[in-house]
Symmetry: C2
Subunit: 297 residues, 2 copies
């Protein structure tokens, strides 16, 4: 395997340590403890794991962690009331509602209820617009983490051709904006793209964010390219025993690693960066809400 | 010249006629007259011409036109007060502040002062974010007009490769979002793009929005491509006499027209569409503010 593995776990750990220093500094200098509130509706097992992990990481960074667990049958009005209360709570600087929410609740309504200044998921259209307009914004965590990994790996990204496969509001579109800010030439590809493999083969940086297990094949990749795999897909793994599963990305890792210059594994690539960037957003939000400059980490 | 000329003037005229019918309909059915307020600071001759043309077109469509001319030395606070008054004025459904503004005024502050619901220029980050998030939004006029011309010329744009040269908030970035919504594969290129000519030659739709006279040359264009020239540059034209000037686009029109399948002229291409889309935005804004469905033109 000629590709160098991009160790998202190690990079995220080091980043989280720096965030912890920033948090400690903020406490010392301004007696301010950043607080993150996570709201979980229902009992989806995967969501419960995510919420637990976020709480642990928040506390580990020295921040205050608040968890709100609402019944799966909660009304949209009650969830809005909960978010509105958090918008007003001075101890809470970041609010994250764990998605998906049950069908009686419209996700977009909740997104737009979260105050843009506490929107640490960066999904509120105000933050999407500020990002697109190159204004200061809270930026979605997974895109932020993906671009950090590319920068840490390649250094200056200026003039590189980035191809992003997938155009979701959560990942594809904000990744495009962030890579454009790094002066990449940016192509947004998706399910309607013709000759997708040929297009991907022109990429210096290839970001896969489609949610289709191992879709990106070795012959889609230019030799030496940097491949960022945002996908996290659980697939059957009968080779591990009956009923067993395993996680794979959107990239056919084993084969692509023979061609790429750098590649993120799944798990252990982009995933750990997402939580680290959530903590960074919460720290930034706390500073901005207190009228302080953001801390340079 | 093998390329078919895209007659923006004729398409815009026909569109404005349909808008006029919509306006008349709204008056009859709801006794509602859409109103557009244009604010001009100072006496820049080009801006004065733009403002006058907008006023004439607004009235021709049957809408109410309000003009506010402020002294070039007006303070930012006074301009904000003017915009805030217009935000509250029920007869005004659209507000346009003619840019550029003098140096004592921060353009972005004014953009963010305009209520998103009256922001017919589509520059407020709220509208940029709603566009990026595929929510209902007021969309910048020139991008809207550019994409209308491409659709009117080519029909369904799905799967076509669009290359946009230029990444301004006003044109390049919103054009990218709109073409993505049409299911194009979209590449954003700019001054830091390597091998720009090669990249442009891969475009089925090539949008030039850089503000550099005649930058796009014939050998940048794939035979048969649809070329949308957003540039409006005034250059010296000594051949017309001493001190004379003429308008050219960002595309070397004569030479590119030998290669392209379709091409917009300058003037008479995208330009006339911009005012038409401003009228459409004002009509839409009036409907939305009145709690009505937008009129399908």
């Amino acid at each position: 395997m000629p590709a160098a593995m991009i160790d998202g776990k190690a990079i995220a750990e080091e980043f989280r340590a720096r965030i912890g220093v920033g948090v400690a500094d903020l406490k010392t200098t301004h007696n301010l403890t950043p607080g993150l509130a996570v709201v979980l509706v229902g009992e989806d097992p995967a969501s419960q794991v995510y919420v637990r992990n976020k709480g642990v990481a928040t506390k580990a960074a020295g921040m205050a962690s608040f968890e709100y667990r609402l019944d799966k049958d909660v009304s949209e009005a009650d969830l809005i009331a909960q978010v509105t209360a958090l918008n007003k709570d001075d101890d809470v600087h970041g609010i994250l509602v764990q998605f998906p929410v049950p069908p009686q609740i419209t996700q977009q309504t909740i997104i737009e209820t979260i105050s843009p200044s506490k929107d640490v998921d960066g999904l509120n259209p105000v933050n999407a617009g500020r990002l697109a307009s190159r204004l200061d914004a809270l930026t979605p965590c997974t895109p932020q983490g993906s671009v950090m990994l590319a920068k840490q790996t390649l250094g200056n990204l200026e003039g590189l051709h980035a191809v992003i496969v997938g155009r979701s509001n959560l990942v594809g579109k904000p990744v495009a904006q962030l890579l454009l800010q790094e002066n990449c030439t940016v192509t947004m590809a998706h399910s309607r793209t013709r000759d997708l493999a040929d297009l991907c083969r022109t990429a210096d940086i290839l970001v896969a964010a489609v949610g289709i297990p191992e879709m990106v094949k070795a012959d889609w990749v230019k030799p030496g390219a940097c491949v960022i795999d945002v996908g996290i897909n659980r697939i059957d793994a009968p080779e591990r025993g009956e009923g067993k599963t395993r996680l794979v990305g959107d990239v056919d890792f084993e084969a692509v690693a023979e061609i790429a210059g750098h590649i993120t594994p799944v798990p252990g690539g982009v995933g750990p960066m997402t939580i680290a960037c959530l903590l960074k957003n919460t720290l930034d939000a706390a500073c901005v809400q207190a009228g302080l400059d953001k801390i340079n980490l």
